[in-house]
Amino acid sequence: MKNLSKNKAVINGSASVLSILIGFGFSFLVLLISNAPYSFVGLTTLLLGGFNGGMQGIGNVLYTAGPIILTGLAVGFAFKTGLFNIGATGQFIIGAFTAVYVGVRWTFLPVEIHWVVALLAAFIAGGLWALIPGILKAYRNVNEVISSIIMNYIGLYLVNYMIKITIFDPTKNQALMPTRAYLPVYGLDKIFTNSSINVGFFIAVLMAIIAYIILEKTTFGYELKACGFNRFAAEYAGINSKRNIWLSMVISGCFAGLAGGVMYLAGSARYFEIIDLLLQYPEGFTGISVALLGLSNPIGIIFAGIFIGYIKIGGFYLQWYPIMPEIVDLMVAVIIYLSALSFFFRAKIVYVLRKFEAKK
């Protein structure tokens, strides 16, 4: 057993918890200023998060967490390999469209595997969309941040056009619903009654575990991280850094694409609209938050995704009171900001732990 002060998981974990606690404190302060009579009940509701709604609430926390864990993985995986995939949004949209398209049009598939194929298609489509910035980065040295931002817009407009010419429901100005390919629920609705839960969350967790294994246990992960940390050293070691750069983008894009599929194949009947606004798809950017909060570690990302889902649902239940649910967004922002300062927190925590250990 190592010393606590040298245990990375303990230090990083407690830094995150500290950020979260301060975040709650901040929200309480905002409530005190803007809505004093309801500040206490507001805080407890926030803290109770998804539990406010009982099993329905918990189910919806997991439902919400699924796609953002996946976009978080997309961003986090790329971070681990030295790339900033700000294009998760575009890959998400492309994945979503592909899933819905397959779900609506490929009715020749046996119904049992229809959703599997649709998800797979989303997975692949997201990956292909990320391949473009990946290739441009690897072979033309195009900054992946700018190319991904551009690909987000192209993806958005392209999908809106594709919907119109392939799976459009003109009476509603939205895509047809892929009812035949909705994700199975496997009786989860019996446990989490009235919630939107489906296998999506579990697929996300599975992907996180796979990502973790790839990164930490395989030679492939060893190569990817080497390229991320030091491209030159990787090349010196005979690792094909160009290939690893685009591969890493593709894997990252696959996760984001899958997120789109999981989201729009959910039986909750989410509407896939034609709107020329990227803000319509906040999941990609939420993925950045989730990745940052989870310190880009796939397992951390699972917890971060659940946490964000938890307080989002908590925010929903705030509406029992005359409190604006937007306070949740404020709180998330503060928590992320604090996690940026975690360098400082971690140093403090190590210091405290050391003192503590010295006493013993």
């Binding site: 033309r140 941040v145 700018i146 690909m151 192209i154 950017f285 937007e326 940026a340």
Partner: protein, 317 residues
């Protein structure tokens, strides 16, 4: 000819805010701090500027009001950027995380505050700032039609800022020191330059310009502000990179993007484009695709400031 005037006049609606914000980003990155929070700072600038306009509309001459509103946006942008400066300079935080957090916070803050203050997230205002024709200059043939009609004070302020930025960056002591901090802070430090102070200056300038850019973007295009700047902060980041961190190139990048976007929006009144009857998606995608293609052929050598993104640690060698 009218159509050409029209396209040029309208392009400034994109060019000016993109350029101003990208110039802001340039100062920050040249000092060594990556500022992905441009979007958030724009939101804050727009929010306070527009709120100010709403409150004081009619109490002073229009062009005075807009100037004061710009000062408000600038001030708030600077104040907001201090959070980024503190995190990335004093606390040596990861600059991407800090920037992302500030983007999230700005959006949530404006909506929350607007709802508390005016009961709605949308802030209505009256845009009385358009200049139909600049006296005298507007009468110059051709040039007057291009640049001095149907315009805003912003356009000239934006162009002035472009020249000023270029001058400050390359001709002044401040500029030399700022660039040194972004390229090699250890060298700057050893030469007796206070890296912390210079980086604060860089981030604060970016706050000022992004705050201003938010207002400049919103005022001409709508009559109410609803807490977002439509991703223009990110586009400005793209313009900054496209412009290779140099004022003149940033200007051309903004012009390229502004003109292609404008053409795509108004294609239906441009005769030779109208007959093509292309789907609007083509026009919407075109400016982005063109940018991507240009980048593909110009990115081999990047002029990014070497130390941008790295917290300066005196001890590190």
């Amino acid at each position: 000819m009218n159509i050409i005037y029209f396209v040029v006049q309208n392009s400034f609606l994109f060019i000016v805010p993109l350029m101003i914000v990208a110039l802001g980003g340039m100062f920050s990155e040249r000092s060594g701090v990556i500022n992905i929070a441009l979007e958030g700072i724009m939101i804050i600038g727009a929010f306070f500027g527009i709120f100010f306009i709403r409150l004081f509309s009619g109490t002073m001459p229009d062009q005075v009001l807009i100037i004061v509103a710009m000062l408000v946006s600038i001030t708030m942008g600077v104040i907001y950027s201090l959070f980024h400066a503190y995190a990335s300079i004093n606390m040596k935080a990861n600059q991407t995380i800090s920037g992302t957090a500030l983007n999230l916070f700005a959006a949530a803050f404006t909506i929350y505050t607007a709802k508390v203050l005016v009961g709605a997230k949308q802030i209505d205002f009256k845009n009385t700032f358009r200049i139909a024709k600049v006296p005298l200059l507007g009468d110059i043939p051709v040039i007057g039609d291009f640049f001095f009609k149907n315009t805003y004070l912003f356009t000239y302020i934006g162009l002035a800022l472009l020249l000023l930025s270029s001058y400050v960056l390359f001709k002044t002591r401040f500029g030399l020191r700022l660039r040194a901090c972004g390229e090699h802070p250890q060298a700057a430090d050893a030469a007796g330059i206070n890296v912390t102070r210079m980086r604060y200056a860089g981030v604060m300038i970016s706050g000022a310009l992004a705050g201003l850019g938010g207002l400049v973007l919103i005022v001409p295009i709508t009559t109410n502000f609803s807490g977002d700047v439509l991703g223009y902060g990110f586009l400005a980041l793209a313009v900054l990179i496209f412009g290779q961190w140099k004022p003149s190139n940033i200007f051309f990048a903004a012009v390229f993007f502004g003109v292609t976007s404008t053409i795509s929006n108004v294609a239906s009144i441009i005769p030779f484009l109208a007959v093509l009857k292309l789907p609007s998606a083509v026009y919407k995608i075109l400016p982005y695709l063109a940018t991507l293609v240009v980048l593909t052929f110009t990115s081999k050598k990047s002029a990014a400031p070497k130390a941008a993104g790295e917290p300066y640690d005196q001890g590190k060698r």
